[in-house]
Symmetry: C2
Subunit: 418 residues, 2 copies
């Protein structure tokens, strides 16, 4: 197979389909989504069989168990996949929304209209549910999608792609509006991230290594999501019970998510009071504490933290802990060692809460809430295609709106410029 030619064909088809899907009405898009959800339910066992084939190859290839977990579909997860697609149909359609129409002194009325980005390339690991999920979000936001999932999920992705194209055709929308790259050749990714003519934005979903590599080579704008090294800062006016509760939830509710807290900062004046109960709670949950020298005075179970530990996303029952002089040092530490993802302060002090919100340079900044809330569903976006740690275009959880941009509309009655 000539990969360059294959990807160009996909690109041309996507661009052409994007013009149709961009002007599809809400009803047609929702019909396609409901049809897809029903087709997923109908073909549940066929999807599980395709998944079985993928799993056999993956086991034969000796894939590690975490990857096998992500690759595995069950009856329950297939049902959840279908429900997720139906749920996207219930979200408001962002396309065509006109806002801020205002008259100008010249007599023209100027506003903005929300429009799809065009063609979105999504690159992800071997997680079949992402195929349905990403297809649904792109479709609802009026974009054409080119999906490139991990090659270990190829059979399953192919089967889901067939259902998506069946659903599009059933409601009269162009089947090329959602295409799955049907080759395991890695060169396809290299093509996808450099086809500026055919792809408007790349959304990478997956590990830090994958994204860093794509970022280095991409010629297409990217809604990037690097690591989530999130912080909780316990201020000197923090409530003790709330501190323990928020650290517990932020660190231990789930270890593998990007909004999990990886580093704890504690104001010096309260270290003696706050660290013992926090350390006891963490120890009770089996979380290893890697602490600075002062931390280790109050948390006896802690081992010494290295400089590197403060810059690490553990994704495991490990937390780095540092005692800081106060708010200034906390903010400086977070802006230096953090990953600009999500950080929270626990405090009862109004001015310090405001300063933390303003000065911490992260996609989500919080007061008295667990970092685990940084999520499209929790924020009310309905769904998310990813969490951006970038500053351009979209920051933090990216929902349907993040897959659109705004153009200017001018309504005149014959005005000309003076």
């Amino acid at each position: 197979m000539d990969i360059q030619q294959y990807m160009t064909t996909i690109g041309v088809q996507a661009r052409e389909a994007s013009r149709h899907i961009a002007r599809a009405d809400t009803r047609a898009k929702n019909n396609a989504l409901n049809t897809l959800a029903n087709a997923i339910r109908r073909d549940s066992s066929a999807l599980l069989e395709a998944n079985q084939r993928d799993l056999e190859s993956a086991r034969a290839a000796g894939l590690e168990s975490a990857m096998i977990d992500r690759l595995t579909l069950t009856e329950k997860s297939v049902a959840a996949m279908a429900d997720g697609v139906d749920q996207v149909a219930t979200l408001p359609d962002p396309v065509g929304e006109i806002t801020d129409l205002k008259f100008r002194p010249s007599g023209i009325q100027v506003g903005r209209m929300r429009v799809p980005l065009g063609v979105i390339g999504i690159i992800y690991e071997a997680r079949p549910n992402v195929t349905a999920d990403a297809a649904a979000l792109c479709l609802k936001s009026g974009n054409a999608a080119i999906l490139r999932g991990g090659s270990e999920a190829i059979h399953c992705n192919r089967a889901i792609a067939a259902l998506v194209q069946e659903a599009l055709a059933a409601v009269g929308l162009p089947p090329h509006a959602v295409q799955v790259v049907d080759t395991t050749d890695r060169a396809a990714v290299g093509q996808l991230i450099t086809m500026r003519e055919y792809v408007d934005v790349i959304v990478p979903r997956g590990g830090k290594g994958l994204i860093a590599r794509l970022l280095a080579e991409s010629r297409v704008p990217m809604i990037q999501h690097l690591d989530g090294n999130c912080h909780v800062y316990l201020d000197d006016e923090a409530d003790t019970a709330m501190s323990v509760r928020i650290v517990e939830n932020a660190k231990t509710q789930r270890y593998g998510t990007c909004n999990t807290t990886e580093s704890l900062l504690v104001a010096r004046s309260r270290a003696a009071e706050l660290l013992p109960p926090v350390a006891a709670m963490l120890a009770g949950k089996g979380v290893e504490i890697r602490g600075c020298a002062e931390t280790r005075e109050w948390a006896k179970s802690a081992v010494p933290a290295s400089e590197e530990d403060f810059a690490t996303e553990f994704l495991a029952p490990v937390i780095s802990v540092k005692v800081v002089a106060g708010l200034d040092e906390a903010i400086a530490h977070i802006n230096r060692y953090g990953s600009h993802h999500t950080d929270t302060i626990v405090t009862e002090n109004y001015s310090k809460a405001l300063r933390f919100l303003r000065e911490v340079d992260s996609a989500s900044v919080m007061v008295n809430a667990s970092t685990r809330f940084a999520d499209g569903f929790e924020y009310g976006l309905g769904a998310e295609i990813g969490i951006s740690t970038d500053k351009i275009h979209a920051r933090g959880p990216v929902g349907l709106e993040g897959l659109t941009s705004q153009k200017w509309v001018v309504l005149g009655t014959g005005q000309v410029r003076q």
Copy 2:
């Protein structure tokens, strides 16, 4: 001079200064702007002398007259530069604005806060007024700026940079918040557009050639502005007098601007009626018409248009004209040959006006108004740093808001995720 080391130093300084300028209050930023405006007025003759030195070298180097024009400062243009800076001070400060704070079922309140992008690199031709203008916009939006103007304006840019830094220092803001790249070595640009660690976005202002070259090499996101191949479409329900008035203004008010109309489309059913008066008006203004065969039946002075003419930004008294079957062909033509900048329809028909607004894929889409309105001042942005023909982040005229992004803020009272 070691350019890599020099640019890295500038980058490190800009990043450091960006943290301070990001949290500067509105009063300090406005004070700095008014101080700068007054310093420009005070040193008007010194600036004119520096400009004289640039002009002498430029003439000796045989620079073409259009470039000499853009390089030339006069007492009037220096005064306008100062007024422009004062005017930026009067604009609302976008930084810190919190919008859409809403309670979620979990009890947290979620909203967005507008924040600076960080460090903005601006690359422009030898136009000294851009130095003051870009410095003012970056400063007001809380960003640090690295300015790289055309080397022919180096003396003048250096003089303006000194005034900017004086003004920053006078109000206690970090002088490195605005730095001018003080070398004419082109390698500096290559560094600037690849220093991802220190530069958050590049704004190129200048010719198509410059931008295409930067785009090919940049590793930093860019608010790009390629060409402006703008269209007027005279629909079969267009008012005749309005058609002539809008084409006249859109094509002939100024020939060299990016929002000038370069191509005219006319509905076939009205060609016999609309083309003669439009052609007569254009002929009277000395505008050359390059038309399709049908156009030439009704506009006898027209010469044949080539395929290439329809894709060309003339920036001159030349217009391409094509007779089309109707709205569908007009939209398809604009989306194919246009540059996604600004396009307008003249029509009295409601449904066709709506379809044009929705389906033309351009940064600005208009009904019954001149394309010349596509401008930050006319749109009410107060000022513009450029006009984006890109879709990501900012589209169309980019004002202060386009130099910011939004982060999420979460206000809790101790909530944890279930």
